[in-house]
């Protein structure tokens, strides 16, 4: 039987072959624990305080989304995938509808592509703010009284959610993308309100950096913790900020442009450290870059229709009889992809739909980077990967 040993660490290590004299302890971590970011479970074999082997268990939120999508028509699926990565529903909708558009050969109007770019970048801001708030909670009370950063981040996140509510009427699950475009256009006076919110957020990013990546205790907790090698990250299929923090210069927004990213160039931030601190720095850089991209999108938003078709379309019009497509886009967590097989017998429904979840790949690094870390570092490492169990388990 072949071993999957990487970097000297075997994720399938047989504990019975480990030092029989060692007084090992088995710690069940999760599935109900706030620092697991949902319902994730790990079995940690500990030698004293040090992790020897980590065995993740998934599926506590497996809701059968892919089976459900096989039963629904193409136009009915957008609100379903909202709930997958519930911290960035906008990008879920985009990845799904772009796959449908590619399968059916449908063009998206230019304004809709710019609108999607704006929504994706706003979503990235709110997602990274939520990550920062929960990550500092994970690291414990040393950082400005524990939940200080968390409370501040939620204040700014609410600003972005208010903007989304102005556009779509919903705070959380938007259902605003459809095949061929978007359902909701920007309301009157949106640009001014959005600019004010962006200015407010940008002014406070420096404060957050002082509380985190410039803070001695934060640096002590994160530097050199959970180092992930770039080659291993590529092998594991890790994408997004975690990959870029490991020194791999790869971002689909620049390397395989979608939406209007070919018209609005993206500056990709890369860090060499590969540790939790590098991941935090990459996300901070992305926060600033996203604010810049949002302003660029507001400035350059072209006029025109936001949907190539009537927004509420007959389900029978969205159909495909043959073909398989894959579309991957860059979400706040990495490459979110949709693999789609058309159904020749029922053209309005897919035969097979698979969602490639970036969080699932990020979590698969845990058996490789946890051995050697302490229990408290394990919480920091898990938080720095920014997993969302909704899309891991689907």
């Amino acid at each position: 039987m072949q071993s999957a040993r990487r970097g000297g660490i075997d994720p399938h290590l047989s504990i019975t072959h480990y030092d029989p004299e060692a007084d090992l302890m088995l710690l069940h971590f999760g599935p109900q624990h706030p620092s697991t970011h949902g319902v994730f479970r790990m079995d940690l074999h500990l030698d004293g305080e040090v992790v020897i082997k980590a065995t993740p268990y998934l599926g506590y939120l497996h809701r059968g989304v892919e089976k459900l999508c096989e039963k629904l028509t193409y136009v009915q699926q957008t609100p379903v995938v909202d709930k997958n990565d519930y911290v960035s529903p906008m990008t879920n909708e985009q990845a799904l509808n772009m796959a449908f558009e590619k399968l059916m050969g449908i063009e998206v109007p230019r304004r809709a592509r710019w609108l999607r770019l704006l929504l994706a970048e706003m979503q990235r801001i709110s997602s990274h703010l939520l990550w920062l708030g929960t990550f500092t909670l994970d690291l414990g009370g040393a950082l400005g009284g524990g939940s200080t950063v968390f409370l501040h981040c939620f204040r700014e996140r609410e600003m972005v959610l208010d903007l989304f509510e102005d556009i779509t009427g919903a705070r959380f699950h938007y259902n605003t993308h459809t095949i061929g475009g978007n359902r909701h256009d920007l309301p009157a006076g949106f640009a001014a309100k959005a600019r004010a919110a962006l200015d407010g957020i940008e002014a406070r990013i420096g404060e957050y950096e002082d509380l985190s990546v410039h803070h001695a205790i934060f640096v002590a907790r994160t530097r050199g913790v959970g180092v992930l090698d770039g080659d291993l990250a590529l092998e594991l299929g890790i994408t997004g900020p975690v990959l870029r923090a490991s020194g791999v210069d790869h971002d689909l927004r620049r390397d395989a442009p979608f939406h209007a990213y070919d018209e609005v160039p993206v500056k990709v931030s890369v860090e060499r450290g590969g540790d939790c601190l590098a991941r935090a720095k990459v996300r901070f850089a992305e926060l600033r870059e996203s604010i810049r991209l949002c302003r660029a999108a507001l400035d350059g938003m072209p006029e025109g229709p936001i949907c190539g078709f009537k927004p509420i379309r007959q389900p029978t019009q969205s159909k495909a009889t043959s073909g398989q497509v894959y579309v991957g886009i860059e979400t706040p967590r990495g490459e979110l992809g949709t693999f789609l097989v058309a159904n020749p017998d029922a053209p309005t429904t897919p035969y097979r739909l698979k969602i490639r979840a970036p969080s699932l790949h990020a979590l698969s690094a845990l058996p490789y980077i946890l051995p050697g870390a302490t229990v408290s570092d394990a919480v920091a490492i898990l938080g720095s990967l920014d997993p969302i169990m909704g899309e891991v388990d689907r």
């Binding site: 399938h12 599926g59 459900l68 039963k71 050969g105 890790i238 509420i312 992809g337 429904t349 909704g390």
Partner: protein
């Protein structure tokens, strides 16, 4: 799941009459009732104003629960703080979908909470399972597991709704302590303390043709939309084509195509899907691609094609699609697929790409394709004792998951 038989009985211990010899003696002591009434009043006031939340946050509603506890809504001012341990919680807020794998854990945690305790079902998944209700892994409502006091509809409910629900729970606590009926909610559409009887779903007639029913419902819904004419001054909209357009697979990168043609003898490059490769040689292909710069594993997807009879008869078969991505500027995907007979096991890619470990386990679990040489091929999503592979086309979507449904 191995659990078979009827539903678990849900016992609400609070409904049982309380009796204790000392309590009964105190009740009959003259003069004491005034004092106990005063103590009871203080106890009730304290209880009602310090409802500590134990968050059973599994999915999206958990984020709104966090938002409710955070700066804008700020639950703390109601004496409600979030404690992440069942020992310190008074109210379990079930925020999110509960699956068959999670439900026993929820029940275990509920039993660890000390009395008196209450439960809030936050969001439509916790109330009824929402649109996952008819699906194989989802529990149709947390009230099949434990007794619920307040239901908060919404997907997800706004933080303000959670706050309203807590205020209603305070009223319920007061009413229960004083033996009065719970007052009606001024806005019954927003919040429901007495859920209407919910018929259990699980009858096979609903399973038979869920897809066709959904299409029919959507057709009715869209026929109500009569606004075919564009609004005056609006941009003209393009009508959808009747015939589906030519499906566009992303095309095969030239060097990948040359490799397939020259080394692997592939001659068929269909326009609408990835080229098929001999399963015996696909590890070799992956190794060549990795050497050529396709270093990132993108996906492993297995598809089950059920047996078809009639005019377009075809035997049962499987397909496994793989894709690798080149890194950096001009990133391209190299995708191929393997055509497999039932029971045929393609060689595993774990030796080359560590990420194939979980991807292949997922496809094994959900579709039932084995991978030869995988070091740890066991279920990843479903419970270990689960029967069948849910994403096979012949697997019923609403398979019974006793005892929950």
């Amino acid at each position: 799941m191995a659990l078979k038989g009827g539903r678990l009985p849900v016992v609400d211990e609070r409904a049982l009459p309380y009796s204790h010899p000392l309590y009964d003696t105190l009740l009959q002591t003259p003069g004491l009732s005034v004092a106990t009434a005063a103590v009871d009043l203080v106890l009730e006031w304290g209880l009602r104003n310090s409802l500590w939340i134990f968050p059973m946050a599994t999915s999206c509603c958990g984020i709104e629960l966090m938002a409710a506890a955070a700066s804008r809504v700020d639950l703390d001012r109601m004496g409600t703080i979030v404690r992440a341990t069942p020992r310190q919680g008074d109210v379990m807020v079930v925020a999110g979908t509960i699956t068959v794998k999670m439900a026993p854990r929820v029940l275990a945690l509920w039993e660890q909470m000390p009395e008196p305790k209450w439960c809030i079902a936050m969001g439509s998944c916790a109330i009824s399972g929402d649109f996952y209700r008819n699906l194989y892994p989802v529990v149709p409502g947390i009230d099949t597991v434990l007794p619920v006091d307040v239901y908060l509809p919404g997907c997800p409910p706004n933080p303000e709704v959670l706050m309203h629900g807590l205020l209603r729970l305070q009223e319920k606590v007061r009413a229960a302590r004083s033996g009065q009926p719970v007052p009606r909610d001024p806005n019954p559409g927003l919040i429901d303390l007495t859920k209407p009887a919910n018929g259990r779903v699980g009858d096979p007639s609903r399973a038979a043709d869920l897809g066709a029913q959904q299409v029919a419902a959507a057709l009715v819904a869209s026929s109500l939309d009569r606004s075919d004419e564009p609004a005056p001054g609006a941009e003209p909209v393009v009508e959808a084509p009747d015939e589906p357009a030519e499906p566009a697979f992303e095309g095969v990168a030239p060097e990948f195509e040359a490799l397939l043609r020259d080394t692997f003898g592939v001659t068929d490059f269909p326009k609408d899907r990835a080229p098929a490769v001999d399963p015996a040689r696909h590890v070799e292909l992956a190794r060549s691609l990795k050497r050529m710069g396709w270093r990132q594993l993108v996906y492993v997807v297995a598809t089950h094609y059920a047996e078809k009879t009639g005019a377009k008869a075809s035997p049962e078969r499987f397909e496994v699609a793989y894709a690798l991505r080149s890194v950096g500027a001009g990133s391209k995907v190299a995708a191929w697929r393997l055509e497999l007979a039932p029971g045929q096991q393609p060689p595993s890619l774990v030796g080359l790409f560590a990420g194939a470990d979980w991807q292949e386990r997922e496809q094994f679990d959900l579709v039932g394709v084995g991978f030869a040489g995988h070091p740890d091929l066991r279920r990843i999503m479903m419970p270990d004792a689960w029967d069948g592979h849910p994403l096979r086309r012949d697997y019923p979507a609403d398979k019974e998951c006793a005892p929950w449904r």
